[in-house]
């Protein structure tokens, strides 16, 4: 009974979405208030029905309903309840339902918040979101129905892939999707602006918190994925330039450019076509990512079951949604109105450079990711493009970007004296270079040029980000109020970037990895730590059995920790997992993984010492927190009426 309810709910959601996608937009063009008024209720109704469908699927999982094919494929009665719930998005069909759920939630939030927007804009924005929903709902119902029955019903399920039975893996997709899918909102705002051929500072002010929120979730989602891959998958790597990783990173880069471009449009009403293009780009790259994960066109560790038929459908979606938006862009962007001027040394100039360099970065990553496909399609052979390429090439736009970032934070609008800027920054710059040379040499006794550059840039960004707040705090009695919330957000976000750069540079330069065979009682030294292998023992877990090794770790004679890597066998799928032991610390991670038993109690083991690796995810979290502060700045919550008055008076917020 119940699973079919889910299907019915999706069909009802589709009918509402069809109305939401057509009438409000037509109503805005024809000035029909009754059609425009349909936007909000249909959006909220769609949310209710998609939520219902999601709830039905979740109930099927939690209730062990193995008459549903999707549940039988991804769950098992012995699976812990938490993972029965997260198994909902463990496969293609369910993750698509999650996509829909999140899109419907964003749409509903926009509908609720849209009361303070002009009716026409709200109608168009919700209408565009409706179009996207229609596309995804059709895709789900026609090709990827999660409610399909299995007859006769399975006695028990196939179990969830053990790699996914993990807390970080559980929340990584929802958070990542919230970010990914969230870029549909700025996209909708951009298309709405194109439809009305009008775009002003108000538009930018309304769009900005949505863009920042989506960006924030995407930042955390990517960081979670990286962190999970680090401790679960493979051997302590945190980024592989895998096509699907790139597919989430490119929207992030475009989204970062979008945030900054919106700042310029909000402040000075310029960069309009840039901002619109970036909004379209960010969401299009999200759709591209959806395509890459599910079509099998590129080899990736993340791929769901690849199905060219589904791939074709997503391609049609991309062509309609992104293609439609870009055609509109080609036709209307030129009409966006007069633009203002600025000088070489000015905040606009730096932000223009920021836009350009980030777009170059996106293009470089996209080109490298798709190049093997290009050659193969043109019959020019098969090559691989991997980390050695991306690690080198990615630095080409980003080294200058980071350099200018530090300076750009301190530039004023319209124009500024280059001397003033230089004078302001000479101390942070000098300190950064000094630390960049001293820190690697003193702590690690050696550094390549690239390492010193990386460390300098890290300190440069940190110094530049903290310069203004620290100066103001020293000069004032009320430390916390020296900056507006949005300014604190900017400070923290840039601080996060600096910390990330430090972490990435140091860990890439000074990571130590050793393989060896050990017998119980063996002692050996890695990276200043002494390891002692104590032997192994067998034990049973909830749905697996395991062999656990014990390693004592000492430094300068005193005990640091005991590490216990495992090799598990999950009973249902008979699939084994290697669980590395990680001793986390701010200054370094220790990483131990058991290899194979070599006979006589000997084992091969891999031991790694990874300095400052936590800074990578710490930096990302601080970035996201900065985004949270910026998105919740009170000026975004002013009532429409009050704001119209203020806009008339010409007032606008400082700096950011």
């Amino acid at each position: 009974m119940i699973p079919e309810l889910g299907q019915v709910a999706l069909i009802l959601a589709l009918s509402l979405a069809l109305v939401q996608a057509t009438l409000p937009i037509a109503g805005a063009a024809l000035q029909r208030a009754d059609w425009m008024a349909l936007a909000r209720p249909t959006a909220i109704g769609q949310f209710v029905f998609v939520g219902l469908a999601f709830g039905v699927l979740a109930t099927a999982f939690l209730g062990d309903d193995f008459s549903v094919l999707y549940v039988a494929m991804h769950s098992n009665s012995a699976l812990p309840s938490l993972y029965k719930f997260t198994a909902v998005w463990g496969g293609h069909e369910g993750s698509l339902l999650l996509w829909l759920m999140i899109l419907a939630t964003w749409t509903m939030l926009v509908a609720v918040a849209s009361r303070s927007l002009p009716e026409e804009l709200a109608a168009r924005v919700l209408g565009v979101l409706g179009i996207v929903s229609v596309g995804l709902l059709l895709f789900t119902l026609l090709t990827s129905n999660p409610f399909e029955r299995l007859f006769p019903a399975a006695f028990d399920g196939n179990d969830l892939n053990p790699l996914l039975q993990d807390p970080a893996m559980a929340i990584h997709p929802p958070i990542l999707y919230t970010g990914y899918v969230g870029f549909a909102v700025p996209f909708a705002f951009a298309v709405a602006a194109l439809l009305s051929s009008r775009l002003n500072k108000d538009w930018a002010r309304w769009t900005r918190p949505w863009a920042i929120s989506a960006w924030m979730f995407l930042t955390v989602g990517i960081a979670l994925g990286s962190w999970w891959a680090y401790y679960e998958l493979g051997w302590g790597g945190w980024w592989f330039w895998d096509p699907v990783e790139n597919a989430s990173f490119m929207p992030w880069l475009a989204g970062t450019a979008l945030l900054h471009s919106l700042a310029v449009t909000e402040r000075r009403g310029i960069f309009k076509s840039w901002t619109i293009l970036l909004a379209i780009m960010a969401f299009s790259l999200s759709l591209l990512g959806t395509f890459l994960t599910r079509s099998g066109v590129l080899i990736s560790v993340h791929s769901f079951a690849s199905d060219p038929a589904r791939g074709l459908f997503i391609l049609a979606l991309i062509s309609t949604i992104s293609g439609g938006a870009l055609v509109l862009y080609a036709l209307r962007a030129g009409r966006m109105g007069a633009e203002g001027g600025f000088r070489l040394v000015s905040r606009e100039s730096f932000l223009l450079l920021n836009n350009i360099l980030l777009v170059v970065a996106v293009a470089a990553v996209l080109f490298g990711t798709l190049y093997p496909l290009f050659l193969d399609a043109l019959d020019l052979g098969k090559i691989s493009v991997g980390p050695p390429y991306f690690n080198t090439v990615f630095l080409i736009p980003t080294l200058p970007l980071v350099l200018f970032m530090g300076a750009g934070m301190h530039a004023t609008w319209k124009s500024m004296s280059g001397e003033t800027l230089a004078r302001k920054l000479v101390i942070p710059a000098g300190v950064a270079v000094l630390l960049g040379v001293l820190v690697p040499w003193i702590i690690f006794r050696g550094a390549s040029v690239l390492t010193m550059v990386g460390v300098s840039l890290g300190f440069w960004v940190i110094g530049a980000a903290l310069l203004e707040p620290v100066q103001r705090m020293l000069a004032s009695n009320h430390a916390a109020t020296v900056l507006s919330r949005a300014q604190w957000g900017m400070t923290l976000a840039h601080l996060g970037v600096g910390i990330f750069i430090l972490g990435a540079t140091i860990t890439s330069s000074y990571n130590i990895e050793t393989d060896r065979s050990v017998r119980p009682g063996d002692r050996w030294e890695v990276g200043g730590y002494e390891f002692v292998f104590r032997g192994t023992r067998d034990f049973d877990g909830v749905n697996y059995s395991a062999v656990e090794g014990e390693f004592e770790v000492r430094r300068n004679g005193s005990l640091v920790t005991i590490m216990t890597p495992e090799k598990r066998i999950y009973r249902v799928q008979r699939s084994p997992m290697t669980e590395a032991a990680i001793d986390a610390g701010w200054s370094r991670d220790l990483f131990v993984a058991l290899g194979e038993p070599l006979g006589d109690g000997a084992w091969s083991v891999r031991v790694q010492v990874k300095p400052l690796i936590r800074f990578i995810w710490l930096g990302a979290l601080i970035m996201a927190f900065g985004g949270l502060l910026a998105a919740t700045d009170p000026r975004y919550r002013r009532r429409k009426v009050a704001h119209e008055a203020r806009v008339g008076a010409g007032a606008s917020p400082e700096s950011v």
Partner: protein
């Protein structure tokens, strides 16, 4: 004006490549050996380690070299057809037993039948690497002059035999069974 057309232009190109990409197989690694001389090797015979088998065994003839292993599920799928081929195909099949355990491999052939003139025993995979083997089962078609004419990855089926192997064999020698080249040594 053109700068506004650039984004949609780029999208069209990318979508075009994606559409083409849906028909391709990104994980399939084409062999760089095709059209080149097949690797020379000499290994102990699986059934009699004191005797040897290698590229010399089929020099001057058209031959199939089939890479197989007992841990390879798909090798079992193609095995019945290989047996049939060994009887009526007209082309000798030489086996290359890859990264396998000898006892298990012998038992396998005993139970399922032996389509091979002889199987080379390659437990360390050294020779397989020379052949660029990465996914058993793989079947190579070797010409009379020792050139690799074709490589097929995944199980051999009557369709594949008819579509890919027969035309090439016929082009090589006109009709089956292929007469060997005269011995020039």
């Amino acid at each position: 004006m053109w700068r506004f057309l650039l984004p949609i232009g780029i999208l069209v190109i990318i979508v075009g490549f994606f559409a083409r990409g849906l028909t391709l197989n990104p994980g399939y690694v084409p062999s760089p050996l095709i059209g080149k001389p097949a690797p020379q090797y000499e290994l102990p015979r699986l059934k009699d380690l004191s005797a040897s088998v290698g590229s010399e065994s089929y020099a001057g003839q058209v031959a199939l070299v089939n890479v197989w292993a007992t841990w390879c599920i798909e090798c079992r799928h193609e095995h019945p057809f290989l047996i049939e081929l060994s009887r009526s195909g007209g082309v000798p099949i030489y086996g290359l037993n890859w990264n396998d355990d000898r006892d298990t491999a012998l038992a396998w052939l005993d139970t399922l039948g032996d389509p091979y003139v002889a199987s080379a025993f390659d437990p360390t995979g050294e020779v397989a690497i020379d052949w660029g083997v990465y996914a058993a089962p793989e079947t190579f078609l070797i010409g009379r002059d020792g050139t690799v004419l074709y490589k097929h990855i995944s199980p051999m089926t009557p369709e594949v035999w008819a579509r890919e192997f027969l035309p090439r064999i016929e082009a090589e020698c006109g009709e089956l069974p292929c007469s060997p080249l005269p011995d020039e040594r």
